[in-house]
Symmetry: C2
């Protein structure tokens, strides 16, 4: 409903593989000193300048990770970069390069690829990363995007998932739940649209949650925020699945437990009103939804004063000796054990 | 015809995403000092030890790059690593890590993934590379494999495509055409099988060309062979598309032309006999087919004596001033201009 495919005309076959890559990447420029050679040879050549190299890959598949009925292609291109950037932010590294592999239907016009690449370009510009390679091929299967992001860090800057200690504070950046409730709105509108294609929804009141779903941002700024605060997390992960699933990852790898204070979980007002409208507990959305791409990390309790009044971060819990993760509901002495019900691509699908 | 899918039983949903990755990767061990952290965190952490980092990504899509009717899954896993290793060999780099992203149908049983990962494992072992990451997801579209390979080189070891000079010799490793004619045999047998599923073909006489197609090897050994010979190529590329297309890449990027002596092109006897059987000129297969994954490079003519009698390499032509690529047929004064008719995923499909 957000794309008017009738506007697109040029067949991909006009270009062929090499001409197409050249066409799609001609507006990209190299910004980082660590990039010696970008697109145009058998491989990219990078100069890590004595730093450690961090690298991660994510694959996004049509009708599993996104639905083209309500995902603008430009946003999809942007998001494909952001999801991998977020992984590097979660290691406390600085991303500097990205490689995109794309499998697209022959029936896709060049203008559709231009939109995807416009989104990739916007993300590269916003996050100061260089596009240094890629593979573009046809697919009679649908759209698949694989993004690989390369970043750098000094060895002592890197934060793994396995360093949390009992009594550490559990901290989250930004606020949670937006992307999950944005998805609920989009799926509802998509069903409405199918039964009445002339219906023009007014989505202004959902602007924040929709943006969180369609155009998420990676918290690559957290590395410098932490440095300014003289804080070094003992463990860190990004919230691509639900808060429950990510906390359990930290728990398992650090061999500690976690208690999360329900009342401390930061949520935007729009998350709360949208959750109410859908009859879903907003905390359930936060725990089991995903794609907020905020960072979840632990710090020594002795560092509490450093983070207490910082508006970018919220202390939502603490690490415990026993290796299990629980929710402590507001105004109750109840303890709710959490299980990982984060989004699983083999069990859940976006498409209905 | 090579896979008996009835043997496979375990549904992927038994594992979920994280359990599945753990199951698939539990037999992989870390071998290289440059790998600080492999699978299990938000990103892999690598130590380039003052070297330059080289990285490349390739995406393989079902029914575009491979046909599961005649491609054993183990071979497919092996090949998915090899195609990227070959790109690093073409830069004169030493590959040490690989990251695999996989999108598979929910209908695929775990045993099918085990086969793919057995192939990836075999390639990692054969080429001494570490599997350091990956993303596995479902797909209602078919099988997609993206491989990213990371390698290292001293800056002065790296060979680009753009350094060939007029009068340089054009050299190829190994022999050419096998993979193309192997594909012809497989496609013919596949059609025969469709009309008569009980037919058991005897493919022994095609063993070499079939292996070249189904289980190609990357010439990562060439780096040390060249070093022993005290040879530094002025330009290099791997032959993933046809010889014509790759030579034209070197031509365009080095701004020289090339003359290829038809009679010098190294071909196995089985390539010649199979070509004869199919009524195809073997040289046409070499020029326009692909997937041999041999290396094509240029050396100064003054280095001729170093390579003249080496059985691993054949001088097949020379660089010329004028920027065009021609074939000089045997026993003729004719000059045939070559155009890039290499395999193009937007124009050609393996599936008929």
């Amino acid at each position: 409903m957000l794309n008017d495919k009738n506007l697109y005309k040029t067949p991909i076959s006009k270009y062929g593989e090499f001409g197409l890559i050249q066409h799609l990447t001609e507006n990209f420029t190299i910004k980082n000193n660590s990039t010696i050679k970008g697109i145009g040879d058998d491989a990219a050549v990078l100069n890590p300048e004595n730093k450690k190299v961090l690298i991660t890959s994510d694959i996004l598949v049509e009708n599993v990770h996104f639905n083209l009925a309500y995902t603008p292609l430009k946003h999809l291109g942007y998001k494909s970069v952001v999801v991998s950037l977020s992984d590097l932010a979660a290691m406390n590294a600085t991303p500097e390069q990205v490689i995109i592999s794309l499998a697209v239907s022959n029936r896709f016009p060049v203008e559709a690829l231009d939109e995807i690449y416009a989104g990739i370009h916007a993300a590269c510009k916003r996050y100061n990363v260089d596009l240094v390679g890629g593979d573009t091929t046809s697919s009679n299967l649908g759209l698949v995007i694989n993004s690989t992001v390369i970043g750098y860090a000094e060895e002592n800057e890197i934060v793994y998932r396995n360093g949390a200690k009992p009594n550490d504070l559990l901290v989250v950046s930004g606020d949670l739940g937006g992307a999950y409730f944005g998805l609920q709105v989009l799926e509802r509108e998509n069903i409405t649209f199918k039964s009445n294609p002339n219906f023009q929804p007014d989505l202004a009141e959902y602007s924040y949650v929709l943006e969180r779903q369609l155009k998420p941002e990676a918290r690559t700024d957290v590395k410098s925020l932490l440095k300014e605060m003289n804080l070094h997390p003992t463990s860190m992960i990004d919230i691509s699945d639900g808060l429950a699933s990510e906390t359990i990852h930290l728990s398992k790898q650090s061999k500690v437990g976690f208690a999360i204070y329900e009342e401390k979980i930061p949520m935007d007002n729009q998350v709360i009103t949208t959750a109410e409208e859908f009859g879903i507990n907003p905390v359930t959305g936060v725990l089991n939804g995903g794609e907020d791409y905020e960072l979840l990390f632990t710090i020594p309790v002795t560092d509490y004063a450093k983070i207490e009044h910082n508006p970018n971060f919220t202390v939502i819990g603490r690490a415990t000796e026993e290796e299990n993760t629980v929710l402590l509901p507001k105004g109750s002495s109840q303890v709710i054990p959490l299980t990982a019900q984060g989004w699983d691509p083999f069990l859940n699908k976006h498409e209905k």
